[in-house]
């Protein structure tokens, strides 16, 4: 019996700006997790991570993280990753204002 | 192919006697260089003062033990050639020289990624040296 694979997204920090970015199907980096590629197959996810990690001039610290499919695209499942899509809670800074 | 880095840049290996591990030192017909691991105990440094060449391993640039081992060898009076070997970064060249190393040995891949200019940038390691200033 194979355990079920929890869907993932590849995320990292942009090299120059330092903010959170996610890998899209088109091999670009997006600042909106809803545009990210949701990876539902483990082997494919591992491959996508390796590909992402090789793009050293664009990002730093790529990793795979759990995500779920919402009606408008992938969404984080853990509060840490949710904060990364938004920004800090003490000021209206970061993605919560930059994306809207 | 290993590259030897000094203040003047890159050069090929010129030490012809080869290296042996500390535990393999024996009566010999050549002044072998002695290889020291980064976890060499300070007590093992005793008696190496007359070696012709000592080469200290840096398994990772983050392993800074070699710098202290070098400083200890020098303060014990070692005057021979002292080499840092392994994963040493150009940015660590000044630290290596100030700790008492004469030179650094890196492999071809690292030399390709960090060319000679990046090392020569720190050939001025004697400048801006707080420690030298405090010790007089």
């Amino acid at each position: 019996m194979s355990r079920t694979f929890i869907p993932k997204v590849v995320t990292a920090n942009a090299l120059l700006e330092g903010d959170a970015v996610w890998l899209t199907e088109a091999d670009t980096w997006t600042r909106d997790i809803r545009d990210a590629e949701l990876l539902t197959d483990e082997a494919h996810a591992d491959l996508r991570l390796l590909e992402a990690q090789s793009r050293k001039a664009e990002i730093a610290g790529a990793y795979l993280v759990d995500a779920k499919q919402n009606s408008d695209g992938p969404a984080p499942t853990h509060f840490r990753e949710e904060f990364r899509t938004r920004g800090p809670s003490n000021y209206p800074h970061g993605k919560q204002v930059e994306l809207s | 192919m290993s590259v030897i880095v000094t203040d003047t840049g890159f050069a090929p290996e010129d030490f012809t006697c080869g290296f042996v591990a500390l535990s393999d030192i024996a009566a010999n017909d050549c002044d072998y260089g002695i290889d020291l691991a980064s976890d060499t105990a300070p007590t093992a440094l005793v008696g190496l003062t007359n070696a012709a060449m000592i080469r200290i391993d840096f398994p990772s640039f983050a392993d800074g033990r070699g710098f202290t081992l070098a400083a200890m060898l020098r303060s014990a009076g070692y005057k021979g050639r002292l080499r840092a070997k392994g994963h040493v970064l150009a940015d660590q060249y000044a630290m290596a020289r100030r700790s008492g190393f004469d030179e650094v040995e890196i492999d071809g891949a690292l030399a390709a990624r960090q060319p000679a200019e990046q090392w020569k940038f720190r050939a001025d390691w004697q400048n801006h040296n707080y420690q030298a200033r405090l010790r007089g």
Binding site: - | D91, R98, S99, Q118
Partner: protein, 556 residues
Amino acid sequence: MYTYTDFDEAFVRERVAQFRGQVERRIDGSLTEDEFKPLRLMNGLYLQLHAYMLRVAVPYGTLNPTQMRKLADIADRWDKGYGHFTTRQNIQYNWPKLQDVPDMLEALADVGMHAIQTSGNTIRNVTADHFAGAAADEIEDPRAIAELLRQWSTDHPEFQFLPRKFKIAVTGAAHDRAVTKAHDIGLRMVRNDAGEAGFEVIVGGGLGRTPMVGKVLRNFLPKADLLPYCEAIVSVYNLLGRRDNKYKARIKITVHENGLEKIQELVEDRFATIRAGFSGHDQDLLAKIEAAFAPPAFVTKSIGGYEATRLANPAFRSWTDTNLAEHKANGYAIVSISIKKHGATPGDATSDQMRVMADLAETYGHGELRISHEQNVILPHVHKSDLAKVYAALRQVDLATANIGLASDIIACPGMDYCALATARSIPIAQEIATRFDELEIEHEIGQLKIKISGCINACGHHHVGHIGILGLDRAGVESYQITLGGDGTETTTIGERAGRGFSADEIVPAIERLVTGYLGLRRDADETFLQAYRRLGKQPFKSILYPAQDKANAA
């Protein structure tokens, strides 16, 4: 105050040039992120949750007005108009862009500042008593020694790649405001039988995953031996400290595993060799540094107006009651400016606030400012006759909160609002607790209370030494907060005890309220502080207050 010599200036400029090159090489690919990371960390640059973070050293917490204004300018030009003062007397910028950082460092160099060794496995920014040079209970101003240590540790070739970070704190006073027993090396100035000033050397203290109170390595170290002795300690640690497990890599574990006697033996042995290499130049330099830290020219004038204003203005009186400390010079006071307005982020100051504080220091404070590890700003030398004007100016920019040492003067690390290592948020908890006590209007009645919050086990918020400590954790994907009680960061350093199970984000503020109002019912009289009551009564009554239902269940 010490100002950079040509040597310091040239050194820092050179370092900026090196870092500029390193940034370029990272961007062009000749450095990998793995290789760049320790280099950027050596220059104070982190990669956090939402952006890079630049940690700028405020050596031993001392700033002059020009430096403070420059910090404000940097905040405006390259960040979002504010900075965050930390528990290590540094300032952090939360939003720099990688390619701007060399310019920010260049701007710092213009005023004799840098971000060197504010991170990485190296000797970090040396911290000191924030009342240094002003405190009434001081043997000597410890900042000269701290500056000497700064110069010695800066770019030390042997110690840039230690097993783990290494923190040194120094105090010259009997009352320890520098948490010296929670540092890798703590230096407490003492006098020997002959009356000479020297140091009690404490080693192996630290908070984090395995909190430990430092142990005395040497009862009395003559001042002249300080650098070689510290070098011997760090040299022994560099070879002996564990590199196989980063949670066991700090010197506190090295001391614990090898025993204090063994460390003592090794250090004394190394010291004998290293001492010979110091020919006295360091002492010549120290003499010059000490001259630079000569006390300002204190003036004598009437303080009559001060007393009259105190009587006339209750808000001013309340502020003077909480935010002043005793100064060694007649007629002077040490002013603590609270960067803890109720509901605001602890330690955050806007660029406008920084400029006002700089102006006040220049006009009324002999040109000196300090950053405290409690994340407040200090004007160490203010004449009492100027206090009313200082207070009025602070009020204009929301800096006149009268809460120093009280329940809302909370230490909080950035937590998961910024920090990549965090397991939970700490800032919102601090904001809510402060707001709640303000609503209840009881914090003056409660009196001295230190609440300290960390967003993970690394304990940057010093929660172990808070009278009430709060540690944010991730429990199965939910933020959870664990309370410790009875901690103390002074000369009677004590690690707080865990109270029991953690609280959810919704429960934690009511729990703290319960605890503190409960203490009011337990204390002997209004003079018995929370910590004193805890020491007298032990954990049990406080635990019963925190976990009422559970207590009943146990009794049943």
